[in-house]
């Protein structure tokens, strides 16, 4: 019934370019959220599984301030990010610290539960209907290498790369950054060296949720704002974080871009029916071959 598709050479090139552009844009969003997993992991060996919800929170707050209340955009974005960071502090204080300090792994379930609670609170307060987040950078498509893209789709990868470089530099070349990394190696030693361990960990959670919130704000104009918009992103971003080797910022970002590219390329060449199956199969395969992720180092297990 279905005839073979005649592929012209120009058409094939267009398909490739559009797959690369959309893959990189979506991939850098995965990368940004995954960086949030990275940040808390390198400081405290714990992660916040409510990252998807934090992303949603950024978008919902941004919408509320900028659209519902009509604040100027920079103020709305700053306020949304600040409140996302505050959410991170609450998660750390209420859902992670009480368990982690007892040596329990229950923070894992507690943060998942925290995300579900937040999703439902937003469902009741923000409402049930998806809303549109207008942005000047996502109204008129521009021509880019022969395909149409929104300017925002080109900005997102730049923001992602910028933040990756900044994190890398901060953790490896500044005193406070090195101090944060010292916390995970030996809490007592870090404390003796005058580092406030609790504050360091709390800061890493605030930073991670703010990163997710930023991803949410960037995605919102391309997507729609609703209470469960972050769920699938959170899951994919965690896969990306593991794939990249969660301890390396550049590895995590690279994995995000790769994952986005793989998804878009599979969809373009094999058809969307197979995207999820093949993409996650590749994640499993990659981890079997490289158990520590693309750029991760082997974790030292102390007995």
């Amino acid at each position: 019934m279905r005839p073979a598709i005649p592929f012209s050479r120009r058409g094939a090139l267009m398909l490739l370019i559009s797959a690369i552009v959309s893959g990189l844009a979506v991939g850098s969003m995965y990368g940004l959220i995954a960086l949030g997993f990275h940040v808390t992991y390198v400081v405290s060996n714990t992660v916040n599984f409510a990252q998807g919800s934090s992303m949603m929170l950024g978008a919902v707050l941004g919408y509320t301030f900028a659209v519902t209340l009509g604040w100027p955009l920079p103020l709305a974005v700053a306020m949304a990010l600040a409140l996302c960071a505050l959410f991170g502090l609450v998660v750390e204080r209420a859902l992670v610290r009480p368990f982690a300090e007892r040596g329990s792994n229950a923070w894992l379930m507690a943060t998942v539960a925290g995300g579900i609670v937040l999703d439902n609170i937003v469902l009741f307060t923000f409402g049930k209907e998806p809303r549109a987040f207008p942005s000047l950078m996502a109204q008129k498509p521009i021509e880019f290498l022969g395909t149409g893209v929104y300017p925002l789709q080109l900005v997102i990868p730049l923001v992602g790369l910028g933040i990756t470089v900044a994190l890398h530099l901060a953790f490896n070349h500044t005193r406070p950054g090195k101090g944060l990394l010292a916390v995970v190696q030996n809490k007592d030693a870090a404390r003796l060296m005058g580092i406030n361990v609790r504050r360091a960990i709390a800061f890493s959670f605030a930073l991670s949720t703010a990163l997710a919130g930023l991803a949410g704000l960037l995605i919102a104009p391309l997507f729609s704002v609703h209470s469960d918009m972050g769920t699938l992103f959170g899951i994919k971003a965690f896969a990306v974080a593991i794939l990249g080797g969660i301890s390396s910022a550049s590895g995590v970002m690279l994995a995000g871009l790769l994952y986005g590219l793989i998804e878009a390329l599979i969809t373009s060449y094999a058809g969307s029916t197979y995207t999820q199956i093949v993409a996650f199969a590749i994640v499993i395969l990659a981890l079997a071959v490289m158990p520590n992720g693309i750029l991760g180092r082997a974790a030292t297990k102390k007995v």
Partner: protein, 391 residues
């Protein structure tokens, strides 16, 4: 055992028992009808529309003295779009509240879960939204499931006919949401195209959370599609429109009624008006006298309805209004609320001048769907309003 302490509790129990006995007595002058629909969650708006349609019909009927000398009373239960909760609610309504008939909501999986129970308990069920084909065509020897709404297989035929007539379609492509609803329409669309001996050039699936549908659409474009059939809810449908915008591909989109459920204009932007989608009713334009009458009643009962943009989703209101009238006509005809008698009476309805159309012999033992493919209208969104398309 501190015996005296038990006494107040016993008294309470006795009082409670008395209250329980008292309720059925008080309830005898009303006839209860149940609704199981999504009243919360993403689809809450559909439940609200259904309640409005049913309530306006009930008010009219009660003003004329009710049915079988009793006033009608609507009892609503929220299924939260969850099949298991829907079945529990249906059981409670039938067994405890003793409803004479049950109405169903938006979600096909919920209705599918309720159907075996109502067939077993011989309680008439009237679907007013969910379009899943097997709800009414369920294969039961004694089938109690009826419907006043669209039916997927018929919608798919209507979509194909519309695309042929309006756009002279030669190379159809499909962009479908990756869930059971998309799947059932994939089957229906394939069959409808097969009937017209028309090959399709591609079928693409996408997810609720897909931001960028450009890769899928590029495949369809390269395959030479000249019309796209779309099946997805509001938010994902708008992602398709935005991706088309980005590609600069101006292709006709003929859609199932997904976009109708929410703020499609806002989400999809100005290009959203290019999507032509199926509906069973629209309050826009010149209305029949019945339409005027129902719209006036709605505005009176629900003061928050000010413009036509507030009577959405119109399908929920209109289907529910006609469904309630057909059901009560049958109960009056049967002279009883016994399920088997009402079922026979539904078959015996000869004519009913309704909101959506003039029904004549709406139900037969072979056909439990009151609406046919000819009753669908095509509509589009303009500035938040659903407007009918004139051919």
């Amino acid at each position: 055992m501190p015996f005296p302490l038990c006494l107040p509790r016993r008294l309470l129990l006795a009082a409670a028992a008395a209250a329980l006995v008292a309720t059925p007595v008080a309830a005898q002058d009303t006839m209860k009808l149940g609704l199981v629909a999504a009243m919360s969650g993403q689809s809450a708006k559909s439940g609200e529309a259904i309640v409005r349609g049913l309530s306006v019909a009930i008010d009219e009927i009660n003003a004329k003295g009710g049915v079988l000398g009793k006033k009608l009373e609507l009892i609503v239960r929220d299924d939260e779009s969850n099949p298991a909760k829907g079945v529990v609610a249906a059981r409670e309504l039938v067994q405890r509240e003793k409803v004479a008939a049950l109405f169903g909501g938006l979600d096909t999986p919920v209705s599918m879960a309720i159907v075996p129970f109502i067939n077993q308990s011989k309680i008439p069920f009237m679907g007013v939204w969910a379009a899943g084909t097997p709800i009414t065509r369920n294969g039961a020897a004694e089938n109690y499931a009826f419907r006043v709404s669209a039916v997927d297989v018929l919608v798919d035929k209507a979509l194909v006919n519309y695309a042929l007539k309006k756009y002279d379609m030669k190379k159809p492509g499909m962009i479908l949401i990756n869930n059971p609803w998309g799947e059932s329409n994939e089957k229906g669309l394939k069959e409808a195209l097969e009937e017209k001996k028309m090959p399709y050039v591609g079928i693409e699936k996408f997810q609720d959370a897909d931001i960028d549908v450009v890769p899928q659409l590029t495949r369809l474009k390269q395959a030479g599609a000249d019309v796209l059939f779309m099946v997805a809810n509001v938010a994902p449908s708008s992602q398709v429109v935005k991706s088309l915008d980005r590609m600069g591909w101006d292709v006709p989109i003929v859609s199932h009624w997904g976009p109708a459920g929410g703020r499609f204009s806002e989400l999809a932007g100005p290009s959203g008006s290019k999507v032509h989608f199926v509906q069973t009713y629209s309050f826009a334009g010149k209305l029949s006298p019945k339409g005027e009458q129902v719209l006036a009643a709605l505005k009176k009962k629900y003061p928050e309805i000010k413009t036509l943009a507030d009577v959405t989703p119109a399908v929920g209101i209109a289907n529910a209004y006609d469904a309630m009238n057909l059901m009560t006509l049958a109960i009056a005809k049967a002279g009883s609320t016994e399920g088997p008698k009402v079922r026979e009476a539904l078959y015996a309805i000869d004519k009913y001048d309704g909101l959506i159309k003039s029904y004549s012999k709406p139900f037969t033992p072979d056909n439990h769907d009151a609406l046919t493919a000819d009753d669908y209208i095509f509509t589009y969104f303009k500035d938040g309003q659903i407007l009918p398309l004139t051919n």
